[in-house]
């Protein structure tokens, strides 16, 4: 799978050992540029976007953050049989400041929603959100419950949805590969977090009143309440 890139750069990399599993070495070693014979095999030519995205996709650090049943399958995915380390994702960070990917693994409740939005705001860009399972995607079997949010995407943007209740580790891995595909398609030139202006958009934290209150919808709540 090749993507159009905006600019090509000469990148000198020393491939040591078996690193670079995701890079097509043959392709890199036979570029359209003339590489002097003595440097062949030591110099690879690729686009900055590709090498940059390759680095990012191979070290997506998820936030260590389990909500419910799906978290157990997330732990199983990280364990030996499914081995998340193959993707460079085994380092789950307990701090949102150090993580790139938030796996919403479980039912999102109203009581938990302010904390989730706060965690999301604390994650630095570039950040991704994966809604794991039926509950996180849309409320799932508990949708009718009075304390359940009908999908985390009502509050924070979601990149990948993984269906299942709970999704098997294979399904989660597939979802994570979709996140990687999304990363592959991004460009440094267009990425929002490299543009001028604030590097990330803060989402207003919901409040707990008589029910969950979304600050973005205060007008709607007031007007509909009058009716």
């Amino acid at each position: 799978m090749r993507r159009r890139c905006t600019k090509s750069y000469l990148v000198q990399t020393h491939f040591i050992g078996k690193s670079g599993v995701n890079v097509d070495l043959d392709n890199l070693n036979s570029p359209k540029y003339n590489i002097p014979p003595e440097m062949q095999g030591q110099v690879a030519i690729t686009s900055l976007d590709r090498i940059y995205n390759w680095g990012r996709r191979s070290s997506v650090w998820p936030l260590m953050f389990g909500l419910a049943c799906c978290a157990i399958e997330m732990i199983c995915t990280a364990a030996s049989r499914y081995d998340l380390a193959r993707f460079g994702m085994e380092i789950m960070r307990a701090s949102p400041r150090q993580s790139d990917l938030m796996i919403i693994a479980g039912t999102v409740t109203k009581k938990m929603m302010p904390a989730i939005v706060r965690l999301y705001n604390q994650m630095p860009e570039p950040k991704y959100v994966l809604a794991m399972g039926a509950c996180a995607s849309g409320g799932g079997p508990f949708k009718e419950g009075y304390n359940v949010v009908s999908g985390v995407d009502r509050y924070i943007p979601v990149d990948v949805y993984v269906p299942g209740c709970p999704p098997t580790p294979q399904a989660l891995l597939n979802g994570l590969m979709k996140v990687q595909e999304k990363i592959d398609g991004e460009s440094i030139k267009k990425a929002r977090w490299y543009q001028k202006g604030p590097d990330q958009v803060e989402i207003p934290v919901p409040m707990l009143g008589p029910d969950l209150i979304d600050p973005r919808k205060v007008d709607l709540i007031t007007n509909n309440g009058k009716a």
Binding site: C76, K143, G145, P166, G209, I221
Partner: protein, 587 residues
């Protein structure tokens, strides 16, 4: 739709046990409603009766406290299930109060401290005010939430009808999005003329006020006490659990668990569902032990329906429940060592074996974790070919060897021993007092196991020991899990040899079971302790009351007393050793 069926004339179970109405004349009367048992105690004499029950009659273990809203009769009832830790059948007593606001009932916390969290839950969800409770705050919902959700006249934002299947969706099969029915296009509802822009909301100060009520010791330096919140997002809290502590230096002087961050409204949804619809929901209570949850619920409904499961199904149930116990304890050993600092390596050993058990579940039920395998009268389907052999291989060959290996790595480890021995002690008296159950109770030296104390299913046919450990410290709570895994393997070894041929269900699979009016309390020894399901039926297709006595929720009552006086770092280890699963704590 089924029509209401008359109650069976068989069980006047208030006859079992001591006759309270003779003992307390004029104060206690037998519950004579159809299908019901137990004793109705006058509200004003509750404390006196409960004290005598505990001190004179030996019912020292208050298992479950819950409320029932009898809206048509305009009264609320609080139901207490008490047992003797020496074993035997329990006693049920109830208190009724008129359904005025506030509904007031005396608190039993002074007699049975294990009632603390359960009474708070009844206050939160049903609005029953327990007079004399030391810390009556909301527990699952937040302070300021509008209404008490489990009241029968309280409707959730997506309310459509009182009971399922909803007419809008069945039998015509229309698809109606719940959002489209709500004026905010979301799962929210507010009081009339609600104006959020001109209000402030305070959900936390009640918690901090409660935290500050502790005895300050006047010794040595006058130091500042600081409040630390751990969770709801914290790697050591096993999910979305929160602990608020007051620290004097590193020493914990006051602690309050804060829960409800995974409150998924099992009971409200369960009361809308038909009986069989609740089976998959029970999977999601304690999601590490779904088969055990199925077991408890199936027992409760079978008790109500007075049916007997098929013989082959009984054996399959026991095998599955014990496999669940093994996989749960393996997970606990892994996570507890995680909490102690052995990051993820012991977990890998434990999960390797757990995966093999999950393979069996996937083969029999089609799902690794959410098995949804039990049905009233049996199990959903027979074991597929070769599964029994797989179970035999695991139970006779692999698991005993691997458990010994893991045991050797852990129990002889110098760091584990010096970290755990003598830490986080729960004495036997406290363990009973706080209504703790399961391994937590047995690690404190109380040989109480529902499988032996009040046998259900076919556990009487198997030889196994009720494991106990004498000290009640962290190390004992860790090691008792190994002991119990070994006993479970022993039960499975006996069961797989004896599984008879035959049908796996004693009744034909039907969508709508006919449940006569009455009440039932089905309890099993789940991996985390006594898991009880309290059901009240009024003969309709859905339960009138569906309550889960969640062991890890009630075990948390002892969490605060265990931690106070210790260092903050011990809190993480103690919480890990209690073995909580948030799906069950918050329901």
């Amino acid at each position: 739709m089924t029509t209401p069926v008359p109650a069976p004339t068989v069980p006047p179970a208030s006859a079992g046990g001591p006759d309270l109405s003779a003992r307390f004349p004029g104060v206690v009367s037998a519950d004579t409603r159809p299908g019901c048992s137990g004793w109705i105690v006058e509200k004003d004499s509750l404390l006196e009766v409960a004290t005598k029950l505990r001190d004179d009659l030996g019912y020292d273990y208050l298992s479950s406290v819950t409320g029932v809203d009898y809206l048509p009769e305009d009264k609320m009832e609080v139901v207490y299930h008490a047992y003797k830790t020496t074993g035997g059948a329990g006693i049920v007593f109830k208190v009724q109060a008129p359904r005025h606001d506030p509904v007031e009932v005396p608190s039993l916390v002074s007699i049975y401290p294990g009632a603390e969290l359960q009474e708070r839950e009844a206050w939160d969800l049903l609005g029953i005010k327990f007079i004399g409770h030391p810390d009556l705050r909301r527990i699952l919902m937040w302070e300021g939430f509008a209404g008490h959700p489990l009241r029968k006249d309280w409707h959730e934002a997506y309310f459509e009808e009182e009971s399922k299947p909803f007419k809008s969706r069945w039998p015509d099969g229309q698809i109606v999005q719940a959002e489209s029915q709500n004026r905010f296009n979301d799962n929210i509802a507010y009081p009339p003329r609600f104006d959020p822009a001109h209000q402030t909301f305070d959900t936390e100060s009640a918690l901090y006020d409660a935290l500050r009520t502790y005895q300050k010791e006047e010794i040595g330096l006058d130091t500042d006490h600081i409040i630390v919140n751990i969770g709801p997002q914290h790697p050591s809290t096993h999910g979305v659990f929160r602990v608020a502590v007051v620290l004097d230096g590193e020493t914990i002087v006051s602690l309050k668990p804060v829960m409800g961050y995974l409150h998924r409204n099992h009971e409200k949804i369960g009361e809308r569902n038909t009986y069989i619809m609740n089976m998959p929901y029970t999977d999601r209570l304690d999601y590490l032990a779904s088969m055990s949850n199925n077991f408890g619920y199936a027992l409760a409904v079978e008790k109500l329906m007075s049916i007997q499961p098929a013989e082959r199904a009984e054996y399959i149930r026991v095998i599955m429940a014990e496999l669940t116990r093994i996989s749960n304890h393996l997970f606990l050993i892994g996570t507890l060592l995680n909490d102690l600092g052995a990051y993820f390596t012991p977990m890998l050993y434990a999960l390797e074996e757990r995966e093999l058990i999950l393979d069996i579940f996937e083969a029999v039920a089609g799902s690794r974790m959410m098995c949804n395998y039990f049905r009233f009268g049996g199990v959903a389907r027979d074991l597929p070919d070769g599964t029994l052999q797989k179970i035999k291989d695991i139970a006779f060959e692999r698991l005993p060897r691997k458990i010994d290996e893991l045991d050797r790595f852990v129990s002889e480890n110098e760091i584990v021993r010096s970290r755990c021995i003598g830490q986080g002690i729960l004495t036997a008296d406290d363990a009973i007092k706080y209504s703790t159950a399961g391994p937590l109770l047995r690690a404190s030296g109380i040989p109480y196991d529902v499988r032996r104390a009040d046998p259900y299913s076919i556990y009487e046919r198997f030889e196994f020991e009720v494991c106990t450990r004498p000290n009640g410290d962290l190390y004992d709570r860790l090691m008792i899990r190994f002991d119990e895994i070994r006993q479970s393997i022993r039960i499975i070894q006996q069961a797989v040899k004896q599984v008879p041929e035959g049908p796996v269900t004693s009744m034909k699979p039907i969508y709508q079971v006919r449940v006569p009016p009455g009440e039932a309390y089905g309890r099993v020894e789940g991996p985390k302790g006594e898991l009880g399901f309290y059901l009240v039926s009024n003969g309709k297709p859905n339960p009138w009351r569906y309550h889960v006595r969640a062991p890890s929720f009630i075990n948390l009552t002892a969490f605060g007393p265990m931690c106070i006086g210790l260092k903050i770092a011990d809190l993480v280890a103690i919480l890990g050793s209690i073995d909580i699963v948030l799906g069950e704590v918050d329901r």
